[in-house]
């Protein structure tokens, strides 16, 4: 008999996913463990790869528009906004002011809907069952507005290149205002449940720390970057769609741990309400569609346009060869890039923290795999 039994061997390889409720989709993480301690991780992705960038090359500019909704499907409107802005940049047109204001309102509403889904599932992963019901209840109200506006709840295809297809419906402004009035106290309600909750704080504080320098090294953006203390938001840094007209703050924290990212996202929802209130109070009159021909044919060239999606910087690098189909569309997905930092965040932590860290990254696998 050898002196050591297998119980003494220190390393254990554990496979988590792709069919695991806490990996938020079809993410597979291979964990190397020493007891409860995580020695390293490897992410296996691609289960949801549909070749979106290839599809783009075989569709016209307008035909590709609905496809972008299928990447980050919980924030489809942000995806659509980024794509429309990129093609508009290449055509050198701008959406009219009225369309821009409506775009901002819907995008911010979508940011709230996206953050709500994150909060509900994140809390569920940690073991708090209740918040997910509350979150989905409020998210439903947002989805109802999308449905009333464009007929779809999730993959909305709300925007068109050059502006909007649909005018607002009767009572749009009133319903947005009602949503804002209803929603702000709800955020306080979630905070009451979680912010000072001993278990919540204990599970999140000092877990999955990512410093500002590490964020920059890994190209991590969005709430994760802001929780590490970098006051950077593309809506402020390089405003698009008229964001420079609205007053709002960029919430930041200093520690860059999971708890800080929670606080940052909660505050972001309040700021989104602030933007929506200002935008809805001053929707300009006028056309909703810019001067875009029936056939969209940008001149030969290329452009990179990015927006602040709920998850971080979402960029589109579009190359045109002068035909009606894009020569190349590259999507710079925030989830894909942020997910790369998972290993750094979790190394040395406990196996139970893996779930917390995946939750806090707020990834959507449709966007990671495209």
């Amino acid at each position: 008999m050898p002196d050591q039994t297998f119980l003494d061997s220190t390393e254990l390889v554990l496979n988590m996913g792709p069919q695991h409720p806490s990996t938020h989709g079809v993410l597979r993480v291979i964990l190397k463990l020493d007891g409860e301690k995580v020695l390293g991780t490897e992410c296996i992705i691609g289960y949801l790869h549909r070749g979106v960038e290839k599809i783009a090359e075989n569709r016209t500019y307008a035909q590709f528009n609905p496809y972008v909704d299928r990447m980050d499907y919980v924030a489809a409107i942000s995806n659509g906004l980024g794509y429309c802005l990129a093609v508009e940049k290449m055509l050198n047109v701008e959406a009219p002011p009225r369309a821009q204001a409506i775009r901002v309102i819907l995008t911010e509403l979508n940011r709230i809907a996206s953050h709500l889904l994150w909060l509900g599932t994140h809390a569920l992963d940690i073991g708090a069952i209740t918040p997910v019901f509350y979150c989905l209840r409020e998210r439903e109200e947002a989805l109802k507005i999308f449905e009333k506006y464009c007929g779809a709840r999730l993959t909305t295809h709300a925007f068109r290149i050059g502006g909007l297809l649909y005018e607002t419906y009767d009572g749009f402004e009133r319903e947005i205002n009602e949503f804002c009035d209803m929603f702000v106290p709800k955020v306080d309600e979630y905070e009451e449940l979680l912010t000072n909750n001993r278990i919540w704080v204990g599970r999140l504080r000092d877990v999955g720390i990512l410093s500002a320098d590490e964020c920059k090294e890994f190209g991590v953006t969005g709430p994760v970057l802001r929780a590490a203390g970098v006051k950077w938001d593309l809506r402020k840094a390089q405003p698009y769609s008229g964001y420079e007209k609205y007053e709002f703050d960029i919430p930041t924290r200093r520690n860059g741990d999971t708890y800080d990212r929670y606080v940052v996202r909660m505050e972001e929802m309040r700021q989104s309400v602030r933007i929506m209130r200002q935008a809805v109070a001053a929707i300009p009159e006028g056309p909703i569609m810019g001067k875009v021909g029936k056939v969209i044919k940008p001149p030969v060239g290329e452009a990179y346009v990015s927006i602040e999606a709920p998850k971080g910087e979402l960029g589109y690098y579009v190359v045109s060869d002068g035909s009606t189909q894009p020569y190349r569309v590259r999507v710079r997905p925030p989830s894909f890039v942020n997910l790369q930092a998972l290993d750094r965040m979790i190394r040395g932590g406990l196996v139970a923290d893996v779930v917390a860290v995946i939750g806090t990254l707020d990834i959507v696998l449709g966007e990671v795999d495209r």
Binding site: I45, G46, H49, G51, E53, K54, I55, E57, N58, K89, M90, L91, N92, V93, K216, E217, F218, G219, V230, W232, A237, Q238, K291, V292, G293, K294, V295, I296, K297, P298, P299, V300, G301, E302, A303, Y304, S306, E313, G315, Y317, V319, S320, D321, G322, S323, Q325, Y327, R328, R330, R332, F336, V337, Q340, D369, R370
Partner: protein, 210 residues
């Protein structure tokens, strides 16, 4: 299917000394139905002159080509072997500390088949710049992982989709497609319905992936 057309930027037109911010070409779509003007065959980029561009020229000499600007977005064309040095220089000397993206574009009819594109951003300057290199098929560009950690997955995706191998990369494997998959989908000669039939049959036990 997109074909013909000489690739944009490869033989960029001589820099026109007009207002660099002005849009060089009118959108073809806005021209209406009557006799649409023929779009220019190359990207109507103008020269980009700034301290940064001059600094780069001074530092790298003929290892970088033109510094150009199109639609107010600046980019540098670098020799393939100098691309990483340029990215590193920009990080260390010019605060471009955030590598936003690495991607490629396939131009099958060109001798140097691929555009390799690095998109960089500087938090301090709030400015973006692209570094472009034209590389031939089979050429193995140096990895950027030593400069920006984020390059790891981005380069793996470029390898996965275009078959561009990066020399010195710690883990040069496919990232989105299965490891045994044959072919590189984002190359122009890879059809939209094409797939690795054998892989699909062996692993999914179906005739078609549709």
């Amino acid at each position: 299917m997109a074909d013909e057309q000489t690739p944009g930027g490869s033989q960029a037109p001589p820099p026109e000394p007009v207002k660099p911010a002005a849009p060089p070409a009118k959108p073809a779509a806005a021209a209406g139905h009557a006799a649409p003007p023929k779009p220019p065959a190359t990207m109507a980029a103008t020269g980009w002159d700034s301290d940064l561009a001059r600094g780069l020229k001074e530092r790298f000499g003929d290892r970088i080509g033109e510094t150009l600007s199109y639609l107010g977005q600046n980019f540098i064309v670098a020799k393939a072997e100098a691309a990483i040095s340029v990215v590193e220089y920009l990080k260390l000397e010019a605060d471009f500390d955030y590598l936003v993206d690495i991607t490629a574009v396939d131009w099958p009819k060109r001798a140097e088949r691929f555009d390799l594109v690095y998109i960089l951003y500087s938090f301090a300057r709030n400015e973006r710049v692209r570094v472009k290199a034209y590389i031939a098929e089979g050429y193995k560009p140096e990895t950027a992982v030593d400069v920006h950690l984020t390059a790891n997955w981005l380069e793996r995706e470029v390898f996965d989709m275009f078959g561009i191998e990066f020399a010195g990369h710690p883990n040069m494997t496919r990232i989105l497609l299965p490891e045994e998959w044959q072919g590189y989908p984002l190359r122009k000669d890879y059809g939209i319905l094409q797939q690795d039939e054998r892989w699909v049959q062996e692993n999914l036990s179906i005739e078609s992936g549709q």
